[in-house]
Symmetry: C2
Subunit: 188 residues, 2 copies
DNA sequence: CCTACCGATCGGTAGG
DNA sequence: CCTACCGATCGGTAGG
């Protein structure tokens, strides 16, 4: 019981510190202090420092990938709209973990690094496919699909830097506005 | 002579390693090895490890800010187009330094951290102002100017992750395509 | 520009 | 779950 709670607290603390200070600049002692346990106790919950990072990165990667399986209906514009809004929803549901996912994955070592990059690549390809089809059909502007996909994902992935859970915009609003801006553009 | 060359080599090495491994995970010994000098020699060129990071971050910040002074002519759509293309040009001209600017600024300590954030804020306000005027005039979609500005900047700032100097897209093409996608949107 | 070194801190473990 | 500790590496410096 208490063990489970402490383990979850450690996970939360790790997400916050890895986001704020970065993985390399966060020591196991920092984590222990913030979670209010002894240094050696951490190793009852995790195997190593990188083990914690892996947990965060692959959890978020799984979340991203699972949403795409439900995304096969409607027009290509609707599919892209759904993909954007779902991506935003996952990020906002795990805002600290998402920040770590985006910024700290480079500290993964092999073979996890390759596995991680492969998952990210697979996810990116969902966006590329939708856009490629849309360009071919003439629904979207003539544009390199990979370029457009990466640009849209970059715009979405910036959220963790400014989104405040108790701020002026709700999670739903953020998704709607991003979809609107990226699909329809800024000019009228 | 030789000193100047080695100093420049050290700067280049620092940009590359800070980008690839991150500031905290790069040791002064890493820099010395890569620049092919002794560890202690580094301190003839810089005062400290953070001194190197400051040099990179503030150089890029200056570059970004200086382009906005020339941007007061034309319609608001033209001004935004110019701002986007100039931002992309600065990034691509300093692609490694830009990556460090975007990802590693959090390792700056006070008072440099506050100064850096203030410069970034000033720059962001240029984009916000253009968009706010455009929304008021009815040239742009009705949208929160700050939200739109941050989203556009996030999309632009993702470049360092994928842009290859010898790749398929020229710097000019990247700027034109980004301006097109973000201002006009993906759908026709 | 380098050799040799400093105190501090790191990730992790033995043993209980 | 903690005390006490390990070897390795860190940023930086003395002295030349």
């Amino acid at each position: 019981m208490k063990t489970v709670i402490k383990k979850e607290e450690l996970a939360t603390v790790a997400q916050n510190l890895f986001k704020d200070k970065g993985f390399a600049a966060t020591s196991m002692r920092d984590l222990a202090n913030e979670a209010d346990i002894g240094l050696a106790t951490i190793y009852n919950y995790v195997k190593s420092k990188e083990d914690i990072l892996q947990g965060i990165c692959f959890k978020v990667a799984d979340d991203f990938l699972s949403i795409m399986e439900d995304n096969k209906k409607g027009s290509l514009q609707q599919q892209l709209d759904f993909a954007i809004k779902s991506h935003v929803a996952v990020m906002i549901d795990n805002i600290e973990a998402s920040a770590v996912f985006m910024q700290e994955w480079k500290h993964l070592t092999e073979p996890y690094l390759s596995e991680f990059l492969a998952m990210r690549d697979t996810y990116e390809k969902y966006f590329i496919k939708i856009i490629r089809k849309g360009v071919k059909e003439g629904a979207f502007q003539k544009m390199k699909p990979k370029f457009a996909a990466i640009t849209i994902l970059s715009a979405l992935n910036g959220i963790y830097d400014w989104y405040k859970p108790n701020g002026k915009m709700s999670a739903k609003e953020v998704g709607e506005n991003l979809s609107d801006l990226l699909i329809k553009g800024l000019i009228i």
